[in-house]
């Protein structure tokens, strides 16, 4: 890969696991996706670096978090969810309903087919949301 990398200030998020070269490391694809979503929204100006750092620190410091940082990206996703709710971008109820919908869609999708949201047996295309998925 000969990709030119731009390092976002987000890469310096408190406690972010990094490789020996200083690049963020991920254990599973959803962690990389959550990281990429955050980088993208920050670059688009949806929130500032200071706002992000504050939300992430609060989540990472919660007493129930694992001492070894194993759930670091769980904290990351929680911080992103809270920040987007606070900004009025994504209501918690809507996100939770979609989360369950994706889980039902996965269970209903046979092996070998792409998992799409409309595979959710309870999927309502016009359930108060604009456009299809």
């Amino acid at each position: 890969m000969s990709q030119c990398e731009t390092v976002s200030p987000l890469a310096g998020s408190p406690g972010l696991p990094v490789s020996s070269e200083g690049a963020p490391v991920f254990a599973e694809p959803w962690q990389a996706k959550a990281f990429a979503l955050t980088v993208h929204l920050y670059e688009r100006g949806v929130f500032s670096w200071a706002e992000w750092a504050e939300h992430l620190s609060r989540e990472v410091k919660r007493p129930e978090r694992a001492a070894d940082g194993a759930d670091y990206f769980d904290a990351w996703v929680a911080a992103l969810s809270h920040l987007l709710a606070e900004k009025g971008v994504a209501e918690e109820g809507q996100v939770l309903a979609l989360q369950h919908s994706w889980q039902r869609a996965a269970e209903a999708t046979p092996h070998g087919s792409p998992i799409v949201l409309s595979n959710d047996p309870q999927h309502l295309p016009d359930a108060g949301r604009r456009g299809g998925v």
């Binding site: 990389a32 046979p110 092996h111 070998g112």
Partner: protein
């Protein structure tokens, strides 16, 4: 017959499952996409950038150790899940790994249309083409055609085996060790192992391709 396809006993159809975290990230992405706040191409580009950071180097270390250490190679062949876990790479979903070794007689190729059936712990994020329905269909029907798309030409008498990953069982291809690498350290050998060579759509780099 230029290929044979490994058949599994599919005793249930529901082998797809999203953890709360996987589903929540998808839910956030769905909301943000509907609101027009994310550009899917830009997001893909960011994910691509980090793709190299999560996995393929782990798999490369597994392969390099198998090349350098006969006992590890035997362990990997018999119980890949444990052998790989011994290096600290474990899947959180409890999936099983199986290592398939390329030989002078057989080349192995892995397919699955779903990112949920990819050995993340050793290979990281699946490349975009791996998830494309066209790749899976063609890999099953015409594996040599797929290899040729990737610029891999195999001797006509070499057999191509296609392995279909499932959520429970995922495959790691152990490419053949390139010639001229006798006595190399595991670290140096790992430089020869590409992600594609561990999926089977590529071969390991030749000794000359890695700077001494």
């Amino acid at each position: 017959m230029h290929s044979d396809h490994d058949h599994h006993d599919h005793d249930h159809d529901h082998d797809n499952h999203y953890s709360d975290m996987q589903a929540r990230v998808l839910a956030l992405e769905t909301v943000l996409t509907e609101k027009g706040l994310i550009d899917p191409l830009a997001l893909d580009a960011i994910v691509e950038t980090y793709e190299t950071k999560i996995g393929p180097r782990n798999g490369a270390r597994v392969v390099a150790k198998a090349w350098a250490d006969g006992a590890f190679s035997e362990w990997l062949a018999i119980d890949a899940t444990s052998a790989i876990a011994s290096l600290g790479y474990t899947g959180r979903q409890g999936e099983h790994m199986r290592a398939v070794f390329n030989t002078n007689e057989t080349h192995n190729l892995v397919v699955c249309t779903l990112c949920s059936c990819y050995p993340w712990s050793v290979l990281g994020l699946p490349p975009v083409w791996y998830k494309a329905p066209a790749y899976r269909a063609k890999a099953v029907m015409d594996p040599r055609g797929v290899l040729s798309d990737f610029g891999v030409a195999l001797p006509q008498d070499k057999k191509v085996r296609v392995w279909d990953s499932t959520a429970e069982l995922r495959y790691l291809v152990v490419p053949q060790r390139p010639e001229g690498t006798e006595g190399w350290s595991e670290e140096r050998l790992a430089e020869l192992v590409t992600r594609d060579s561990m999926i089977g759509t590529g071969l390991a780099r030749s000794a000359g391709e890695v700077a001494a």
